[in-house]
Symmetry: none
Subunit: 407 residues, 2 copies
């Protein structure tokens, strides 16, 4: 199925907003056997929207998806522009207006009159529910074959609506079956990964393979119309990469950890220094994490490490706060304080300041303690503070994942 994308918004053209919507939609629909043929970004201007639509339609896609411009303000002109373009009158949905007004009341606010346009619905055409926001979407049949979807530009709302309304429609309308497998890896760079699996990927496997690297790891996406071939390639890759693959779906490492810990009735506590709360944040992003996550000490200063965790000040004096010994004490102490099965600790230098010749920016020690032993791992990342925090959280969580799975 050929799909074209029309993103509406001055903020995209001015570079104020990175167009993550377009790449997300591309990736998501690609995974369902769709091909994004063209993708056009135009300003919030009636003439630009209509001429953009004309252009995209002239390339004969099966479906066009529009994002953006469904908000309540005067520069959100997508709704009336599309109503005119497809030739439909609109009516006011009083029931939805009531619903919106109530929502605002919950926040002790009167609903502004400008929100009224969000209650306008087309005479010809369908409404697409927005499960998390006030801007509902639209669906039109341009002719016998071509479909037009209109979605808001707010990423979380757009994504929820693609999942709930567009993917099911694509599933029904893509010819023939299409199978996908997503193997999420971490701890191995893309080039090394491709070298490791060069055997299976250079064989006559009959699948499409895509690599999607990010700072947290590389996702391998396999797709094929032949399920047997897909399973065979996937299992060949899996036998090589083994537990460098943490998931064959869409879960993050923190999801795996929380689910595994709940299953095995294990509890977790964390003492983090240079990551500043990022590990706790990631674990608590997972619904249900309160069952297994008992708490986290962000001990950002030496004194906090001593006073709150009970790290021995002599250890800090002798070895420094960023050291094997301190990581070790932190992991043991936090495990004991929260009475958990595992204690995870992090101490390091996130940068960009604070490094020395012996202990450069990017030096990180991670400790993991259970009832039997306490182990320490050492890493040396880059000079970029944000990247160091992200990478550290990923290797620490991946270690904990291994531990949980093998325990």
């Amino acid at each position: 199925m050929n799909i074209s994308l029309l993103c509406i918004g001055n903020e995209l053209l001015a570079g104020k907003t990175l167009n993550t919507n377009a790449s997300w939609i591309g990736k998501r629909l690609n995974g369902h056997g769709c091909n994004i043929g063209e993708h056009l970004v135009v300003p919030d201007k009636k003439k630009s929207i209509t001429s953009g639509l004309d252009y995209l339609i002239s390339h004969d896609p099966d479906c066009i998806i529009i994002t953006g411009g469904l908000g309540p303000t005067s520069d959100d002109i997508t709704r009336p522009t599309i109503f005119e373009y497809v030739g439909t009158d609109s009516k006011f949905d009083s029931e939805y207006w009531e619903h919106l007004s109530k929502k605002f009341k919950q926040f002790d606010m009167d609903i502004p009159d400008s929100n009224r346009n969000q209650a306008l619905v087309p005479e010809k055409g369908e409404i697409i529910d927005n499960p998390i926001g006030s801007a509902r979407g639209l669906k039109f049949h341009l002719n016998d074959r071509q479909i037009l979807f209109v979605l808001p530009g707010v990423p979380s709302e757009m994504k929820a609506m693609v999942e709930a309304s567009i993917i099911p429609w694509v599933r029904v309308n893509v010819n023939g079956s299409f199978y996908i497998k997503n193997l999420r890896t971490t701890g191995i760079p893309e080039s090394a990964l491709i070298e490791e699996i060069s055997g299976p990927i250079s064989s006559d496997h009959g699948c499409d393979i895509g690599y999607y690297p990010s700072i947290l790891g590389v996702d391998i996406r396999l797709s094929s119309k032949d399920q047997t071939k897909l399973d065979e390639l996937s299992s060949n890759i899996r036998s090589i990469l083994s537990d460098k693959i943490y998931c064959d779906g869409t879960d993050d490492i923190e999801d795996i950890i929380v689910h595994e810990a709940i299953k095995k009735k294990k509890t977790i506590s964390i003492a983090e220094s240079c990551t500043g709360g990022l590990l706790g944040h990631r674990i608590t992003n997972v619904p249900g994490s309160s069952k297994i996550f008992k708490g986290c000490h962000v001990v950002y200063s030496n004194q906090a490490k001593i006073d709150l965790l009970g790290v021995n000040h002599r250890t800090i004096d002798a070895y420094g706060a960023v050291s094997i010994k301190v990581a070790q004490e932190m992991a043991i102490k936090v495990k004991n304080i929260f009475s958990t099965d595992y204690g995870l600790s992090i101490t390091g230098i996130a940068g960009p300041e604070g490094g020395t010749k012996e202990k450069p920016v990017g030096l990180i020690y991670i400790g993991l303690s259970d009832k039997n032993k306490t182990e320490i791992r050492k890493y040396k990342f880059s000079s970029n503070r944000a990247n160091n925090k992200s990478k550290t959280s990923q290797v620490a969580l991946d270690w904990l994942r291994h531990k949980l799975i093998n325990d």
Copy 2:
């Protein structure tokens, strides 16, 4: 000056590569008084490139910038396609070929024959130097007025060439200066914000205004060729929105907090429950935060609130963990434990589970304690866990910002 952008590459359409080039070019040229009128992404296909160019040219921009498809591999077809489009023959640049061959030799490699196309230059048209890579760019006069630039898609090379060749050309060709002001707001929805500033924005102010909402707030971007008019509008908006504007540049709230706290020699500690470490994470994203941030307790369970913070178990029994009283005790206790000037506390129900009729998902209490008093604020957000965590962190940090500025 009106500029259109044509990005060529299958990887952009499939969502494998996030189109950071487009937003970077948009931002960079916007800052020099250029307006990006449209931006089109097409696959590495001759027909798509030429019809895309036709479309963009029909909107009459002063300049078109193409990125991508100048590499040495067989799917890099931009160069021959453009030569044909503008109607020029090409010749082989032996001198550049020599230069490229030498470069490869430096890395002990023989230059592959496929690189020969990178030494092709047009008979009519100019070459743009690539200071850091092998793919040089192209510049053509489409007619008396319209200019076409062609650049490689590798971000570092594209950026170097925009800086070295396109920005200087823009400076000469944009008439007059161009001024920008960015006002970052939080705590007020876009529609309500626009209603509040309806006076100044509907006056004859002679500026362009853009609104850029996100889950954390709304940025207002003002631009004009007349600095006096820009300053006047900005100051009129500022007098209405007052301290709902947290920054008139690009800083986040956590940046403001850290800089203000360093300036005033104030220290901060945090006790967070449902945000799980996100506040600590945000504060520690700011380089230098260790000077003022003493630590954070992520007390995710009732027991941790009692054992680690010293919250009275009777308070929890009587009022529940998500209550004014517990938020109050948490703020006071964490301030005392870390001996800081401010103690910030958060307790709430992030969801999607855990809500009751009296205490629904999205209910949050925030406490802020200093040496004089402890105040509590109550919020009711949505049912979305990730959004609740983000919004809670933003209102809490914004409150702390107010406190710091007024202290």
